[in-house]
């Protein structure tokens, strides 16, 4: 089998998967009575037409990058963390609590403290699932999903009770939201007049650091080893249980930080549905990037584009913005299927035989 055939085969599989994702999305769009390719055109081009669009894509990419980095640490360590959504929410709650409790602190102290509080909140929430798995062998997929629900309810309670803006109670409509954070806890906007904030820089720096962590440090070696084959790792003296807890703490911390960055860079107060599904979209981004930190920023940009584009189609073509989740779902299915097909050596042999038969070449390899 020639290298050229292999490359062509892999490309064909990937293209077929992409085509399938497009087709599925198109069918759903057609079913709700809109012209699918017009919608795709709007989603993929409209946001790129001006600075506003591009900055808004980057605003959405920032939490996606942070979440996806955490997800790739967890997945590479053999822990399937589906709980980023809950970890984001707890991160927001913790960051808000710290920021509004110390309004008098100067910015160089309060801002880092706020972000760290967010990371710590997410780490605690992820750590619960990690500890349960390490100590009691509780399936982390179940526990993280359940913890998402608990986090959502807890957050709703906090915003309606202890953390609600007192003014909402006295003169407002009772909207469940916190007070505005003190200015010292705000991330600066990078371009005046847009929402693009310094969180993007934090996310990009962390992408480099996660790459270094996983492939250049002993801690990363340990995490990857424990994730790839826990049995061999145990024989090699690696404490696998500890690695599971560490991976979930780190993964949760990234999600919590994503929440804190979103809070202090964009909304500047805790409101309901602040995370808008970044915890799940972040998983898609991480998988799309092949769990490779270097590819996560571009992947996050692509999904930021989809999210914004879907918002725009809602406005301009009255297609529900939630359509973007259909797209995401189709993309996940396409990635997973393409991976399964590419892992199947016999399928490739079969394709090669078919190729040989179609072109009726006895020995396609010898020129």
């Amino acid at each position: 089998m020639t290298a050229r055939f292999k490359f062509a085969y892999a490309s064909a599989v990937v293209l077929a998967a992409a085509a399938a994702a497009v087709l599925v999305s198109a069918l759903v769009l057609a079913a709700i009575g809109v012209e699918p390719f017009a919608v795709f055109a709007v989603i993929l081009t409209e946001p790129l037409k001006d600075t506003f669009g591009i900055t808004e894509i980057l605003v959405r990419s920032t939490p996606l990058i942070l979440v996806a980095l955490g997800i790739s640490i967890a997945f590479r360590s053999g822990v399937l963390n589906i709980g980023a959504e809950g970890q984001i929410i707890i991160g927001i709650a913790a960051a808000t609590a710290v920021a509004v409790s110390f309004p008098g602190l100067p910015k160089p102290v309060l801002l880092p403290l706020t972000l760290l509080a967010g990371a710590a909140g997410g780490a605690v929430w992820g750590g619960i699932a990690g500890t349960l798995k390490a100590k009691r062998d509780v399936n982390e997929i179940l526990s993280t999903v359940m913890l998402n629900y608990i986090a959502a309810q807890l957050y709703g309670f906090l915003l309606r009770g202890p953390m609600i803006d007192p003014e909402e109670l006295t003169m407002g409509s009772g909207t469940p939201q916190s007070v505005r954070l003190p200015r010292a806890a705000w991330l600066d906007r990078l371009i005046p007049g847009t929402r693009l904030h310094a969180g993007l820089i934090i996310a990009l720096v962390l992408a480099v650091l996660v790459y270094v962590l996983l492939w250049r440090t002993t801690a990363g070696f340990r995490l990857r080893a424990a994730g790839a084959e826990p049995k061999a790792a145990r024989y090699a003296g690696i404490r696998v249980q500890r690695s599971i807890v560490a991976a979930m703490l780190l993964s949760g911390a990234f999600a919590g930080l994503a929440g804190a960055v979103e809070l202090s860079g964009v909304h500047r107060r805790a409101i309901e549905s602040i995370s808008s599904g970044y915890g799940f979209s972040g998983i898609v981004v991480a998988l799309f990037a092949g769990l490779n930190p270097a590819l996560i920023p571009p992947a996050a940009f692509f999904f930021g584009l989809l999210l914004l584009g879907a918002d725009m189609t809602q406005r301009s073509m009255s297609v529900p913005a939630n359509m973007v989740y259909v797209l995401q779902g189709a993309i996940i299915l396409a990635i997973v299927s393409a991976k399964a097909v590419l892992a199947d050596q016999y399928a490739r042999e079969k394709a090669y035989r078919l190729y040989g038969r179609i072109f009726d070449r006895r020995h396609p390899e010898t020129p």
């Binding site: 250049r216 440090t217 002993t218 084959e229 049995k231 145990r234 024989y235 090699a236 003296g237 390899e365």
Partner: protein, 515 residues
Amino acid sequence: MPKPMANTAEPIRELRLEGVTKRFPGVLACDDISMEVAAGEILALVGENGAGKTTLMNILMGLYQPDGGRILVNGREVRFRDPNDAFALGIGMVHQRFMLVPSMTVAENVALGSKDLHKFLRLDLAEARRRISEVSEHYGLSVQADAYVDQLSVGEQQRAELVKTLCFGARFLILDEPTSALTPQETDELIELLKRMAGEVSVIFISHKLNEVKALSHKVVVLRRGRVVFRGETADHSPADIAALMTGHEVVLPRNDCEDDCGKVLLSLRDLTVRSDRGHAALEKLSLEVRSGEILGLAGVSGNGQRELADTLAGLRKAEGGSVLLAGVELLGKSPREIIDAGFGYIPEDRHNEGIIPSFTVRENLALKDFAEPRFSAASFLKWKEIEKNAAELIERYDIRLSSSQVAAGSLSGGNIQKVILARELARKPKVLVAVYPTRGLDMGASEFIHTRLLELRRAGKGVLLISEELDELMNLSDRIAVIYKGSIVKILESGEATLSRLGVLMAGVEEVQA
């Protein structure tokens, strides 16, 4: 002859391969291979792991397409595009790993593979049973048609697989290392069975166990690195001749005959008591000593506590009582890391999932126990250059065959994986090495290599605990042989006292009567 059932093709009177060649990236797996098998003949195809035997048979079954050469049946050229084409001509293969659905009965398995028995929404099991009984009567191959496959022993499963293949109409059988999973008794039965079947079916028998080849085959073809290096009548050649052809040099199992005085006690187990996963006693007050410059063999039927003993020594299983001293240091209660650092080397039973991390590169696996040492890291950062240098050195020194130190270790052959593990463990200069079934499933060349290294370790004054089922291996290498039965040592024999029959009796748990 039984009437052909699923198969109406004319019988294969002669199958001939001419110049078959198959290339994989960087490897010439089959290089211009020619051979022929006549009706009713048994041809043994022998060669070390990686010599190209399985690739060649996959070509014959239509799983791979050859890059060159041709296949002739009864003088006519045929092309097998997939296994169905091979089936249609009556060629069937029994794989090393049986292709049976474990949760189904034998009859269901047969019906599943026979397209003509697929009726609307059901399988014609009555017809499947009839075919099974016809085949088993004809060949004297007893098998229970209604037994569930996962309830059968390995030997019975293999008979079921054979019956299935015959029911599909195969009269030309390819058996890929059929005895590798069988007990000695089952192996003898299989050989008797195949002898009876010879004459009616043709067989290509892949093996690297030369006594079986000798007992069974009419002709033998030896492959080495993808080439036919020898073909001839089996009767004219001794197993030693064939072994030499296989490896390219005279094979002498290294014998342990140096008279080093066994020194001080390096590893001492006292009254070790351990429970198994199910909670019953796996080791009961087991006591054992390994001295420096000694290989202590541990013989026993597997399942008598060997696995639990090895796990306990590696620190992965808690002991209920007793003590384990390594050069005077208590190991019980220590973490695996502390045990490794105390000078404990280990070749685990499951080389694929315990010895290496299959998805990691070879160089990562070679540094698996030391990546945090100053040699390979500074201030928590890995020194990839040093890791690579170490890998290059070990690959060279231990003759590990691969295209690059950055291929996934799991993609290597069993022998090369074992070399990776051995290289890593020996490079750490352990005081004591525990080797669990170190040569299981390996060919003679790789086994010999591993034996040599174990003997070198002994000569260097280290202690080796060799846990094995291969009595030849134990008797050739060990200074003393301890026999384990139901979690206790029943007897320790000096190498001179150990005989096959004496060990066999002890392993079966029969008390020796004191003379």
